[in-house]
């Protein structure tokens, strides 16, 4: 009897949790009509935001991969002075409120910022440009890739690299032909997470890049702006983001499953 009550209790908690997560998402679909969504797809704000979000998030992901892969590999394989500090610094943007990240970027690269004021003397301005959107996205999304990449590199048994070295491979050759392909599923999964985080970035972007349609107004910013006027447009943008999120979760799950299958083998 106690067993049945326990099972019923657990089932109730699971159902309530699922309902809490699913209800708002379901409401998005229930509250929007297909006609209005299709009509909103042609709205310039939606088109601009979609194009800008996809472009900046893709560039951000490429930058994060290029910058993050060496950092993740070195942190996975080597010990060095200050490694703990580097690790903490990498994780900091995950915990830091996005608004704080935005103001921090502004203080560093804004017109009067520590670096920005010097760039300004050469006529270069970063804040409130598309570049600022990318920088804000890189800042908040890089930990998602670096942490996942580090774990993936740690999962690659050192004996594979050692075997490659004894077979005549230099460190670089061994990295590109052995370590990287073995860790690839994990790296792709990390890159997808970074892409997703970039796509959803709001706080740091609005603080550092502003909210200008076609230039810095990404999809989350466009939702915020359009919902004050045309709710259909906001719902259309929200539904696109939900669809992308589902796709990302499916991809990450699939890759993670394959990664652990490889590790087990």
């Amino acid at each position: 009897m106690r067993d049945i009550a326990l099972k019923a209790g657990i089932a109730l908690v699971i159902c309530l949790t699922m309902a809490f997560i699913a209800l708002p998402i379901a409401s998005l679909f229930l509250k929007s009509s297909p006609d209005a969504v299709l009509r909103s797809m042609n709205d310039p704000a939606v088109k601009d935001a979609l194009r800008l979000s996809i472009t900046t998030s893709t560039l951000t992901t490429l930058i994060v991969i290029l910058m993050g892969t060496p950092v993740a590999y070195v942190n996975a394989r080597f010990s060095y002075f200050g490694k703990e500090m580097v690790d903490s610094l990498i994780d900091l943007p995950v915990i830091m409120p996005p608004a704080v990240a935005g103001i921090a970027l502004l203080m560093a690269f804004g017109r009067m910022g520590i670096v920005g004021q010097h760039l300004n003397t050469f006529g270069l301005s970063i804040a409130f440009t598309t570049l600022a959107v990318i920088m804000a996205q890189v800042f908040v999304s890089s930990p998602f890739y670096i942490r996942q990449a580090r774990t993936s590199f740690e999962d690659v048994d050192l004996s594979f690299e050692n075997a490659a070295r004894t077979l005549g491979a230099t460190r670089i050759y061994a990295f590109f032909h052995v370590t990287l392909p073995i860790a690839m599923n994990g790296l792709i999964s990390g890159a997808i997470m970074a892409f997703a985080r970039s796509l959803g970035e709001f706080g740091a972007t609005i603080m550092f890049a502003g909210n200008f349609q076609g230039r810095t107004q990404t999809m989350p910013l466009a939702i915020y702006t359009t919902m004050q006027g045309d709710l259909d447009v906001a719902l259309c943008l929200a539904l696109i983001l939900v669809a992308i999120s589902f796709l990302i979760i499916a991809l990450v799950k699939n890759l993670t499953h394959r990664m652990y299958k490889n590790v087990r083998n």
């Binding site: 050692n162 490659a164 004894t166 077979l167 690839m184 490889n262």
Partner: protein, 242 residues
């Protein structure tokens, strides 16, 4: 001749070894887990740096702390069969065996001929397209050996190459392995826990304890070593197999 005279401070003890191995000789290293056997192989391969000493092959130094020579692993020409075999899981059997030739920038035609020879010779040609992680333990062992031998190494290192095989397969492989090592005529060092490996494969054997050689002699006389018997009769019965 391979001459090793090295020292290295490990976590629990100091490793101090002085070994000479002639061309074509098979030296068997026996000892309990953590006594420094694999560390020695890794030092010869250049994967771990000794604190001091020399490692030389036919008078050519691979490592010499006094004149700061430390040849990189990729330039030492060493065939190393790892305990786990370390076959690259994302590659086929063919690609695993071809890996060492690709690093040497051989032409596709040369690589194909050599790999075909080695795989046919070891009865692996039929499974050349199989993923390395999908084949049996015995096949993995043969692929690992073929991969180590195809680069025509100057030294062969084998770290418990039979330990993950079942007993029947081990007996079959011992004969094969001995013939293969004999035919290559390079100094070979094989780490094992199994005294049957020592008796069947080796020419000479060394018993290691806490980083030092405590017994050395002909492989066939290994059963008479008092220290091995003490170990078998003592607490560490599981570590050595007779």
């Amino acid at each position: 001749m391979l001459e090793i005279d090295v020292k290295k401070k490990l976590r629990d003890f100091d490793l101090e070894l002085n070994i000479k191995i002639s061309r074509g000789e098979i030296l068997m290293l026996v000892g309990e887990n953590g006594c420094g056997k694999t560390t020695l192989l890794n030092m010869i391969a250049g994967l771990i740096e000794p604190d001091e000493g020399t490692i030389a092959l036919d008078g050519r130094p691979l490592f010499d702390s006094s004149i700061e020579i430390d040849i990189a692993p990729e330039r030492r020409r060493i065939g190393y069969v790892f305990q786990s075999y370390a076959l690259f899981p994302h590659m086929s059997v063919y690609e695993n065996v071809a890996f060492g030739l690709r690093t040497r920038n051989l032409s596709r035609r040369e690589i194909e001929l050599l790999v075909r020879d080695h795989l046919t010779d070891t009865g692996l040609w039929e499974i050349r397209n199989a993923r390395a992680m999908k084949i049996s333990g015995g096949q993995k062992q043969r692929v690992a050996l073929a991969r180590a031998l195809i680069i025509e190494p100057d030294i062969l290192l084998l770290d418990e190459p039979l330990s993950s095989l079942d007993i029947r397969k081990q007996a079959e492989m011992r004969k094969d392995l001995r013939e293969k090592l004999r035919s290559y005529g390079v100094p070979s060092i094989m780490v094992t826990h199994d005294l049957r490996d020592v008796a069947c494969i080796g020419d000479r054997a060394c018993l290691m304890e806490r980083g030092k050689i405590v017994e050395a002699g002909r492989a066939e006389g290994v059963m008479s070593w008092a220290s091995i018997h003490a170990e078998i009769d003592g607490e560490d019965r599981g570590s050595l197999i007779i």
